[in-house]
């Protein structure tokens, strides 16, 4: 690695200030939560910071607080802590399962929830240093190349898929993201945090320069809410989703009052399925309806030359995820 400095501020304001200061001084500064993905990128020279601002010591960002108004998860809470926390497991199973599905125990012990949400793509062209949109260039090599793992929805001009497992779960659960930056704080719904490449192919979210994802706010779950995260991966562990589905439904008396379905692995951002949600709301989740919903879920998919298999796969994933939350016995 090139020479770099690492600092460990104790306050979030200080962290933001350090980022801003560095940038004004013509130095490159990046944030590190757990830092594991960041270091890999630094070693591959995808990112060449002069300064790493580690957030590990920042006060107040590593707590989970649960109450009547919902649950607040600090951005620095590790994926292991998220997946193990009783309030998360009880009220937001999709998030617990998604966090549990990431990587390996070693990764989950240091990786933070915010870091997972803000993770850069794992497209192999990007990671191999091709001069693509994500690397500041003007093209997408996957579009006409090896695109087995790329987008079937929402793609263009870049065709990456968003790599985070927790992101679809957070969108499905209606999370809010509290962002802190030099200009102050703002709260952005999870569903509006992620951006498609049509807007700006170089980025995956709305974070401004020197802004930090400080906290994730989850609304209190309804007593009848059931959620799950269904992930398909190549290998039984340690791999990003090929296709995944975060599903949250409110079932009352066997009738689905509310449904949220968000796909991972299929689009440059977590991919909600509002049309499918409307099909399910007010209905009983019978096997037939679920099958119809699964078919509807993939309507409009635009596969590339090598990822057509993701269409039937996504259909199967939606069906299985819905059956899983619908519970036993129709």
């Amino acid at each position: 690695m090139r020479p770099l400095a690492s600092v460990r501020p104790r306050e979030l304001d200080e962290a933001v200030r350090l980022l801003e200061q560095a940038r004004r001084g013509g130095r490159r500064a990046v944030l590190a939560g757990g830092g594991s993905d960041l270091l890999g990128m630094v070693k591959e020279r995808l990112v060449e910071p002069d300064l790493i601002v580690s957030l590990r010591d920042v006060r107040g960002l590593d707590q989970v607080a649960s109450g009547a108004e919902g649950t607040r998860i600090g951005g620095l809470v590790t994926l292991d802590a998220v997946s193990e926390h009783p309030a998360v497991r009880a009220g937001y199973a999709a998030l617990a399962e998604a966090a549990q599905s990431v990587g390996t125990p070693q990764i989950r012990n240091v990786a933070t929830l915010a870091g997972n949400v803000c993770q850069r793509p794992w497209c192999w062209y990007y990671r191999a240093g091709f001069p693509c949109f994500k690397n500041g260039g003007g093209t997408c090599f996957a579009a006409t190349g090896e695109n087995q793992l790329h987008a079937i929805f929402g793609g263009g001009p870049s065709y990456i898929v968003h790599p985070s497992d927790t992101a679809p779960a957070l969108v499905a659960l209606g999370a809010l993201f509290r962002l802190v930056g030099p200009e102050g704080e703002r709260v952005v719904p999870a569903g509006e945090f992620f951006t498609l490449p049509g807007k700006d192919p170089a980025r995956e979210n709305v974070l401004k320069a020197d802004e930090v994802l400080a906290e994730i706010l989850l609304p209190p779950p309804a007593p009848a809410t059931r959620s799950t995260y269904y992930k398909v991966l190549d290998r039984e562990a340690w791999t990003h989703a090929v296709v995944s589905a975060a599903v949250a439904v409110d079932l009352e008396g066997g009738v689905c009052r509310r449904a949220r379905i968000v796909l991972g692995g299929v689009a440059p951002a977590p991919w909600p399925l509002p049309r499918v949600e409307r099909m399910l709301e007010g209905q009983r989740l019978t096997a037939d309806l679920v099958a119809q919903a699964a078919t509807a879920a993939v309507r409009g998919a635009v596969p590339l030359t090598k990822n057509g298999y993701k269409v039937p796969l996504a259909k199967a994933v939606v069906r299985r995820a819905l059956l899983a939350v619908a519970g036993p016995a129709r």
């Binding site: 690695m1 090139r2 020479p3 770099l4 400095a5 690492s6 460990r8 940038r23 013509g26 130095r27 490159r28 990046v30 757990g34 830092g35 594991s36 270091l39 890999g40 070693k43 020279r45 995808l46 990112v47 060449e48 910071p49 580690s54 590990r56 292991d80 390996t104 125990p105 070693q106 990764i107 012990n109 240091v110 192999w124 062209y125 191999a128 240093g129 091709f130 001069p131 690397n135 500041g136 090599f141 190349g145 090896e146 087995q148 974070l207 401004k208 190549d234 290998r235 039984e236 562990a237 340690w238 791999t239 090598k306 990822n307 057509g308 298999y309 269409v311 039937p312 796969l313 199967a316």
Partner: protein, 908 residues
């Protein structure tokens, strides 16, 4: 065009690469000003293994670096430096983390436990002892990491289930694929009911020949304690005073002429001590290509990753910075990636004369074998059909990455090499550096796997030696994992076109194979496609074309010509059985080989017994149904395949010394790649000498102290070197009989260099594998439900390590069948997924339990009748899985790997 893009170093600052939303800082390479500012440093305090350590670190050092290079704790290994393998696992405040993926400064104020902290007062932690007893470490390189993850698990959950163990260790790869042993060991340490330590199925068939005292009993590896305590010193752990660090600059182009190389800026970087390029180094790497002249630095460069320059500097970061300052002006040329495309008219010639690599006599012809008349055979057949199968480039992926340390003392060179063959390495180094062999010493005390890609000396050994000579200091040259994947070698990809003719009763009448193997641009391997020889057939014609391509070089990887060839022929045989409505088991019993090439008798042939006993143990008759029997999305199926591999005899040497204390020291040139060779040699010596095992010590891995050895390849160590050990033991016994036992400072020394030959017979090991899979056809996922591996390797010398060996090869084969491929971008010739993550190497959670059955015999050759065992286990595994997938789904998979997109049938 000056290309500053450094593949394998990432984009570098030369391209317009922006880091997230922040603006460009001054690119690294353009600085022509004076010495760069010193790297920022911080004083930190870490409690390591219970002791407070204070040190000043550069902020950019990883925790792994700080532990290994600056605290002398080399038990923590670096396997990939990217958080993709787990070898570097340590416990940070009790939690397992990847020490390569965190900065040392981030551990300031924390407590860290490394493998060195597990044992106390010289006593092994119960987990470490369990690892020893249950054959946990094969090569041992992943062992430290496995231990720490396991220790953390047991501290939290003292009584885990097997699946909980696997989940806890999911972040620790083992390429020797010894997963089942690790799980058994952890469960044993947790006090669970012990599995049979030997782990093999009973009823494997009795040994012929006398019962032995030491050989044949499950024996823990004699150096296991060193491997579980982190005390085993691998090449990367060697530290010499004043040692420099070297890195290699590599071509980003698959094929290009080099117009100009400018090293001035790199040379001017303080701390850079030597730079080699084609301009100042014309050393030929003779074992790097057996047909063409391959220099250390070639022009043109012929694959992405071909070496262009090597730099030695005061530390690895400085060396890496220097690489970024070397400017290379490339003229890109046309390139070709596919072996069939490379033979088409108009394909760019990678070497003068075209892309069909010449045979051993220099002729531009495929390697051909014929017997009988295939056209006649097809005419006489009731069923004739053709089929095409492909396999891809698969990397050996051993956990220990490439590293070499070279040091000169006057005219004498010592190379600490991670090698499977110290004698071959020594001979090659001497030849290529034009030194007398006596002036070259090769040392390898422990090595972390190779599976065939560490057989001889390599270009990096030579580069390290030349850099050391140039700079006047010892030089340590290391590769990144990506370099290991791209710039060494892996298994050759193949295109196999078969035509087969059979009688209605299933008897083979004729087989033709037209094969193409992608060798990369340098001919380092045979390119063979083997497997047809496993079948009895009167008319055979095989023509295999080894072809140059602008891809990673292909050479030896565990049974180099076999798993891909057996996948091809066994798929064809399975298809034939299917079309004729014959159970594959019956088909095999009808057609398996009974004489080598249908003419030369085998010294012993346990293949049929492997098939029968394996099938019985598996329950084949109960499980087999015609293909595609299950109509739902989840489908079960079974498949089988056979294998065979040469178990030759040949020349090697051993020296045994008896001293006045009664200790026998066996000197053999093995390095123990993970096979347990040291232990096997000790067992053979103990048996022949008639003494208990603790009376034997083994000296290995040093050409100054060990005689010639054939090298640990071709599964020959037991057969060749083991035989020499027995001969030396017999010679020693003769000396003792004549002169009595030595007393005081007296010694008896006996040496043997036998060169046995076998005339008129073929000596082979055999195997038959049986697999049950569950295919989820909607998800495109294959799971292994049951696996039985039956092996004839003659007499099994150590059932503990032998079972581990078989399971390891099987799991490796499953990975080849389902996941692994070095994928190239067709437009640029750049490999896209080099590394453990990209290759989807099998984890604990992927590895099924494998039941092992041995059919034992003693054919009177080799050491007590032992035959080869290292390579056979991978041979039938790929085909067995593929055939099981066919049986489950009714769809024949023609291309490896059998990935999700292929199973779902909609991929390209």
């Amino acid at each position: 065009m000056i290309s500053r893009r450094r593949f394998l170093e990432g984009t570098g600052a030369g391209l317009a690469a922006t880091a997230l939303p922040l603006p460009e800082a001054t690119p690294a390479g353009s600085a022509s000003e004076a010495a760069p500012a010193p790297a920022p440093r911080t004083a930190i305090r870490i409690v390591v293994n219970g002791a407070e350590r204070r040190l000043e670190v550069e902020d950019r050092w990883t925790l792994a670096e700080a532990l290994r290079d600056h605290l002398g704790l080399t038990g923590t290994k670096i396997g990939c430096d990217r958080g993709e393998c787990g070898a570097c696992t340590v416990r940070l405040d009790g939690r397992p983390v990847y020490s390569c993926s965190m900065l040392a400064v981030w551990a300031d104020g924390a407590s860290v436990q490394t493998v060195e902290g597990l044992s106390s007062g010289g006593r092994l932690d119960p987990l470490q002892q369990a690892f020893v007893d249950h054959d946990g470490p094969q090569c041992g390189f992943c062992t430290s990491g496995q231990l720490l993850s396991a220790r953390a698990l047991l501290d939290r959950h003292p009584h885990p289930t097997p699946d909980e163990v696997r989940a806890a260790l999911a972040g620790n790869l083992c390429r020797c694929s010894n997963y089942q042993r690790y799980v058994e060991a952890v469960l044993a340490a947790a006090g669970a009911a012990p599995a049979s330590a030997a782990g093999r199925l009973e009823g494997g068939g009795g040994s012929q020949g006398a019962a032995l005292s030491v050989v044949g009993r499950p024996t823990p590896r004699i150096d296991a304690a060193l491997r579980v305590t982190g005390a085993a010193a691998y090449t990367g752990d060697v530290r010499l005073p004043g040692m420099l660090h070297a890195r290699v600059l590599r071509s980003p182009h698959p094929h290009a002429r080099i117009r100009r190389i400018e090293v001035g800026k790199a040379r001017a970087l303080p701390g850079v001590k030597a730079i080699l390029t084609r301009d100042n180094c014309r050393v030929v790497w003779s074992s790097g290509d057996t047909r063409n002249t391959r220099f250390l630095f070639n022009d043109p460069v012929r694959f992405v990753g071909d070496a262009v320059a090597a730099v030695a500097a005061v530390d690895r970061h400085r060396a890496e910075e220097a690489l970024g300052l070397i400017e290379v002006d490339y003229e890109p040329l046309d390139f070709v990636l596919d072996p069939e495309a490379a033979l088409e008219p108009g394909a760019v010639p990678i070497h003068p004369g075209g892309n069909l690599s010449p045979d051993g006599e220099g002729r531009r012809e495929p390697e051909v074998y014929r017997r009988g008349d295939v056209e006649e055979g097809f005419r006489a057949a009731d069923l004739v059909f053709e089929d095409r199968y492909t396999s891809c480039h698969v990397n050996n992926a051993q956990l220990e990455p490439r590293v070499s340390v070279a040091a000169w003392e006057g005219g004498k060179l010592t190379v600490y090499a991670s090698t499977q063959g110290i004698s071959n390495c020594q001979a090659d180094l001497a030849k290529d550096l034009k030194l007398p062999p006596a002036d070259v010493r090769v040392v390898c005390a422990f090595m972390g796997g190779g599976f065939g890609n560490k057989n001889q000396c390599h270009d990096f050994d030579l580069m390290a030696a030349v850099l050391a000579r140039e700079s006047g200091a010892p030089v340590r040259l290391e590769f990144t994992r990506k370099e290991d994947y791209v710039a060494v070698h892996g298994r050759w990809p193949t295109r196999q076109r078969y035509k087969v003719g059979l009688g209605r009763d299933g008897t083979l009448r004729a087989i033709r194979l037209q094969g193409y193997s992608g060798m990369g641009p340098y001919r380092k391997g045979s390119g063979g496609i083997a497997g047809v020889d496993l079948f009895q057939c009167p008319n055979v014609e095989t023509a295999v074309h080894p072809v140059y391509t602008n891809t990673a070089v292909a050479a030896n990887f565990r049974a180099p010509a076999y798993p891909q060839g057996v996948f091809g022929i066994e798929s064809v045989m399975d298809e034939a059985a299917h079309r004729l409505g014959i159970d594959p088991l019956e088909f095999h019993l009808k057609n398996l080989t009974r004489k080598y090439h249908d003419e030369t008798p085998y010294t012993g042939n346990g293949l049929e017994e492997c098939v029968r006993r394996g099938a019985a143990a598996f329950g084949w008759k109960q499980r087999w149904r015609p293909a595609g029997a299950d109509s739902g999305p989840v489908k079960r199926g079974v498949g089988m395949a056979i294998g065979g591999f040469g178990a030759r005899v040949g020349r090697s040497s051993a020296v045994i010394r008896l001293d006045g204390s009664g200790l026998f020291t066996v000197h053999v040139g093995v390095t123990d790649v993970g096979t347990g060779a040291k232990t096997t040699m000790a067992l053979l010596a103990a048996e022949e000498l008639g003494v208990p095992l603790p009376r034997i010590a083994v000296v290995s891995g040093d050409t100054d102290r060990c005689p010639y050895s054939v090298g640990e390849s071709g599964s020959r160590t037991t057969g060749f070197t083991g035989f020499a050990v027995i001969e030396a033991a017999r010679e020693l016994k003769r000396q003792i009989a004549q002169k009595g036992r030595p007393t005081g400072g007296d010694v008896r020394v006996a040496s043997a260099s036998p060169d046995p030959r076998l005339e008129g017979v073929a000596r082979y090991s055999f195997a038959a594998h049986f697999v049950e899979v569950e295919v989820d056809a909607e998800l495109g996922r294959v799971r292994i439900l049951k696996y039985v591996a039956a092996h004839d390797s003659g007499r099994i010398l150590n059932p503990l390590t032998a079972v581990s060996q078989v399971r390891g090869g099987v799991v490796m084969g499953i990975g080849m069948a389902l996941h692994e491929e070095l994928l190239y971008d067709p437009a640029s010739g750049v490999p896209l997924n080099a590394g453990y993550y990209g290759a989807r190497v099998m984890t604990h959670c992927d590895a099924p339990e494998v039941e092992v059955l041995f059919v034992e015999s003693d054919d009177g050759h080799g050491p007590y009748g032992a035959k080869s065992l290292g390579e056979p286990p991978i041979i039938p595994s790929v085909a067995a899985v593929a055939n099981a997938v066919f049986n489950a789904t009714g769809r024949r998979m023609h291309d490896l790997p059998i990935t999700r997109d292929r199973l779902l049938g909609t991929g390209a």
